[in-house]
Symmetry: C2
Subunit: 336 residues, 2 copies
Amino acid sequence: MPLPSFQPYAGARVLVTGGLGFIGSHLSQKLVVELGADVTIIDSLIPEYGGNPYNIREIADAVHVNYSDIRDPWSIRYLVKGQDFIFNLAGQVSHIDSMRDPETDLDINCRSQLSLLEACRENNPETQIVFAASRQQYGRPQFVPVTEEHPLVPVDVNGINLVAGERYHLLYDEVYGIRAASLRLTNTYGPHLLMKHDRQGFITTFIRLALEGEPIRVFGDGSQLRDFTYVSDAVDAFLAAGVTEAVYGQALNVGGIEPVSLLGVAELCQELAGAGGTVEMVPWPPDRAKIDIGSIYVEHARLTELTGWEPQVGLREGLTETFAFYRRHGDHYWSE
Amino acid sequence: MPLPSFQPYAGARVLVTGGLGFIGSHLSQKLVVELGADVTIIDSLIPEYGGNPYNIREIADAVHVNYSDIRDPWSIRYLVKGQDFIFNLAGQVSHIDSMRDPETDLDINCRSQLSLLEACRENNPETQIVFAASRQQYGRPQFVPVTEEHPLVPVDVNGINLVAGERYHLLYDEVYGIRAASLRLTNTYGPHLLMKHDRQGFITTFIRLALEGEPIRVFGDGSQLRDFTYVSDAVDAFLAAGVTEAVYGQALNVGGIEPVSLLGVAELCQELAGAGGTVEMVPWPPDRAKIDIGSIYVEHARLTELTGWEPQVGLREGLTETFAFYRRHGDHYWSE
C-alpha cells in the first residue's frame, strides 16, 4: 500500500510546534518546499533543547517563525486560529533532565499540551492535531516487539508526563471532537539532531562521539536491541497520519526496519564516521541502570495498515547521510 | 487472615494531606484516638473541595493542623521532615471540575505530588507514603471486576492526572527507594462527605437528595453496577497498607462487598433517608454521557492477600450510619 496523497497540505495552514527542532524542522521543510503548505513554526529556543535556527536555513524566508514558549497559555490561543493542521512536536525530551527537574518536564509536557488543546477547543475545534509521543511511555518491555496494547508503565518522569500529554490529546478527540492522533516515536536520528550535550538519547551521543573520534561507551554487554527511524521516515509518518482520518483518536507506534544491538550501532557509527574512535563496554552507571529498560523495539503494523507508511531508510544509509551532514554543517551544532 | 497490627502507629509521626477532608479526617481521628499517633494535617480548605474543620471537631486539640496548599512547593519541604508515615489524600476529586478547569486539576493532582515527592527525596527519604488514587484511572472497563492489570485508559482529565500522580509515587519508590504505595479507591461514602455541591460523585448527590426528600435522577435505566466502600473500611485499607512492607511499590484496588446497581442504591437511599423522595429514570445529559463508563466494580483480592484487609460494612449499614450522621450534623455540611 502506498502512502496517502499529501495533496491536502497544498495551500493548507500548518502549525508546527517545536518547528526549529530536529524532526519539526525537517517536517516544516517538506511541507513548505515539496507540499506547498503555509507553515507557522512555534519555538522557544530554550538553550538546552533541540531548537536551532540553522535547521530552517533553507526555508527561513518561506515560513513564519513565532518565537514563543508553549508554556505561555495566551499566545497559543491566538496562534492556533485558522490552522488546518497542527503538528505538535514541542516538548522536553531528555529522560535524564526529567528526573533532575521533574516540574519543568511537567510544565512543558503536560501543562502546555492542555493549554494547546484548550486553545483549540475555544478557537479552532476544526483543526487536526498530530502529537509526538514516545515509546518511552511503555517502560520496561513485557514483550517485544511492543504493540500499542502493551501496558504503559513508564520508568521515568518524562515517560509518565508523555502518557498524560498523549491521553489529553485522545481525550479531546473523544469528548470534544477535536481530531487528534499520537505517534509514539522510537529512536529517531538524522541531520539536525542536537549535538551540544548528551542528555537527549544515546544515538545522539554515539553520533557525536564517533564524529569526534572519541570512544563510545556501551553499557553492559551492548546486546540490548533498539530500533531506529531515520528522520525522513518520521516526517512521512507525521504527514501520512495527518491526512488519514482513521488515525485520529489513536496512538500508533512508529518503528524502524529492524532492531539492532547497541553494540552493533556503536560499531556502525565508528565505522561510518571513520574518525578512528573505538567502542568500549563499561558497567552500568547507577543512575542510568535505575531507568534502563533492556531490549525494546516496537511493532508499527497498525500504522502501516492504516496509512501505508513503512520505514524506507536503513540504518547504514541513514547514518551515512547523518555523518555527511555534520561533517559539512557541524560547526552550527557543536555550540550555540 | 486478620488485619496487620496497627501498633507501628503508636507514637509515630504521621502526616495526612487533605486531613480535613472526608477520608483524611476519619483516618486522622483513628490514628489519634485509637492508635496514639502524632498527627499533622495539611489542608487548604479550598471552598469547593471537601475540607471542613468540623470534620475534626473531636480531635481538634489533639492534632496539628497546618493550613496550606499542597501546590506551595516550599512549605511542604519543611512539613515532610521527620514524618514516619505520609497519607497523601489531598487532591482535586471532581471529574466534572477537571474537564472545566483542567489546568487546576493538573496543578493539584500532578505538580503537587511531584513537589511532595521531591520534598521527601531531599528531606525525608526514610518516610513511607500511601497515596489515594481512584478506579477512575481505568476508564471504561474492558472487563469486570477490574483488576490492577486492567489497562489505564481514563476518560477524563482527572483520571489522566491521577494516573500520572500515582506513577510518580511508584517511580520514586523504584528509583529513589522512597517507600510509596497507591490505593485505587472506588465510591467511598460515609459521614463527612461534602454536601454543598454535586460535583464530587453520584453517591454524595444521592445521599443529599434523599435527605432533602428530593427526587434522585438516575441516568439511563440505572442498571449500571458500582461498588461502594464505607469510610471506616477505606481508613483500615490505608492503615493496613501503611504497615505492610509488601504493599510498597504497588498500586492496589480497594473495593466493596458486592456491586449494586445505580437504581438499587438510589432506592436504598430513599428508603433509609425516609424523607419521601422518589427515584426517576432520565436520559443521559450529553456532557455526562461523554464521560460515562458503564458498569464498573473492582477486584481487591490482591490487597486482601497482602494485608488481610476486607470490607466489613455493607451498603445498608453504612448508609444508615451516614444518614444518622447528617440528620444530627447536617447544618455543618449544607453550607460553609
